[in-house]
Amino acid sequence: MDYLMTLGIFASIYTILAISLNILTGYAGQVSLGHAALFGVGAYTSAALTVNLGFNYWAALPLSILITALVGALIGLSSLRAHSDFLVLITIGINFVVVALLKYTPFFGGPYGLLGIPRPSLFGEAMNTFEYFWYAVGWASFTILFVYWMSKKYIRTAFEAIKEDEEAAEAMTVSVPRFKIYAFAISAAFAGLAGNLWAHYMGVIFPGNFSFDTSIEIMTMIVLGGIGTIRGAVFGAVLLVFLPEYLRFVSDYRMLIYGLIIVFTMLFIPSGLLGDNSITWRWTRIFKKGDRVAKNNEN
């Protein structure tokens, strides 16, 4: 049972990560292959605050989110100068730099990581796995609801506009720098939350947890599920957390399979399994009433 609960916690954390990357890449069109760096910043900030500086978990939680959002905004500054393919390279570079910094900084425990990260306590007692499961599910649900709500507001419209055409967006009064930084900061805030949840569940973190491989893993989730949709991010995250646990060969060839998923999705179903224009999603809509074309165009 604990094992299933643990998988549920991982699925919740990766759901938050996938949704947060989806804000940046799916909504605002800023492709990042270094998302794990922000995951790591959140985890390490919270761990260092509680372990090294003696902060209470409930103080470390908002701080780790805030600090990760600030780091995200700083990374966002680089997107103002570099576009698309160059930005991808920059984010990969940032991922390696962050992992290296964690590895070589004694304050962060170096290659041995940080140990003894406390579980948050509820009414004076540390959460057990069962409680933590609901805690993580709660945060994942909050993330889904918040991003769903945000996706109906003008902020999403601004993101879509800069994704489609920066020059036209500017001509329509949408400030490209402002909304790129918003996208990076909001996305990073949720990645920071995921990092916090990860660190305080595992109790021990290593720089290797947040390497480029993890960034690829998150990207695979949203690509497979369908870039630009919340349902796709959730589906991709849950599927790729549970699949390796039930199909042993998947976990043995993890990176190979992620690579293949990206290649085949991009070639044959570029909008993912549940993307707005994917065959699979439209097929599920056949059974629904109403104008399918209008629906597909709406989101």
């Binding site: 945000m150 419209t157 020059e167 001509a171 329509m172 009064t173 402002r178």
Partner: protein
């Protein structure tokens, strides 16, 4: 709007050379000139996409030189692009909803207001109706034929409620019927009080629509006047009409 000795050079190439002219309120002014005369560069300088090397631009008495594109747009200058740039993966309606959010993009209310609010939808539908695009509202913008995409771009710029509209070759690539429809639409906009600065190559189109014309050649202003003055101006004929006539190509 007042353009005062605006110069733009790229390295050694002078694309716009000390050009000055005014547009008065409610006027429709055409900017013409052969390819490479610097018309689009001047548009990009006015809208803040490019920085002027020297010179000043005033709009409504305020200097706009050096301001960012989104600020200039917010002050009331709408534009279209030479090569159409609708938001292709949005629907026609959604394209119009983008500029309707202009009051929110500088504030935190960008998180609280939704483009699906009734007032925005009905405003957008009105704009689409006047652009004869209301039947296409739910189509993906990139699926529209070029004539409709041009009208969509104009409607999108109008959603900013601009005082001045910059149109970059709106008639390029249109057939006779589309061109007539466009002319009607532009005249309707102009008569509603919006000033228009129009770049166009199609001389027939220009002569029929504008009362005043500014001619650029190699980045410099070589003439300014009414259509009939321009048509008989020897410098203009030499730089533009004459050469084209010899080749028998009136529309290029």
């Amino acid at each position: 709007m007042k353009i005062d000795r605006v110069t733009k050079h790229f390295g050694g190439l002078v694309a716009v050379n000390s050009v000055s002219f005014d547009i008065s309120e409610g006027e429709l002014l055409a900017l013409v000139g052969p390819n490479g005369a610097g018309k689009t560069t001047l548009f990009n300088v006015i809208t803040g996409v490019l920085k002027a090397s020297s010179g000043n631009i005033f709009f409504n008495g305020k200097e706009i030189t050096g301001k960012r594109t989104n600020q200039i747009a917010r002050m009331g200058i709408g534009r279209t692009f030479q090569i159409v740039r609708p938001f292709g993966k949005m629907t026609v309606l959604e394209n119009i909803l983008v500029p309707l959010g202009k009051a929110f993009y500088t504030r935190l209310s960008v998180f609280s207001h939704s483009p699906h609010e009734k007032i925005f939808i009905s405003k957008a539908m009105d704009l689409l109706k006047s652009a004869y695009l209301d039947d296409e509202a739910n189509k993906m913008a990139s699926y529209l034929p070029i004539g409709m995409q041009r009208r969509l771009e104009i409607a999108r710029a109008l959603a900013l409620e601009p005082k001045l509209l910059l149109l970059d070759e709106p008639a390029a690539g249109l057939n006779e019927k589309e061109s007539m429809q466009l002319k009607e639409y532009i005249e309707k906009i102009n008569s509603s009080g919006v000033s228009i600065l129009l770049i166009e190559h199609d001389m027939k189109f220009i002569m029929s629509i504008s009362k005043r014309i500014v001619v650029l050649d190699h980045g410099s202003k070589i003439a300014e006047g009414t259509p009939s003055e321009i048509a008989s101006n020897p410098r203009v004929i030499e730089a533009y009409l004459g050469r084209k006539h010899k080749k028998g190509d009136k529309s290029a």
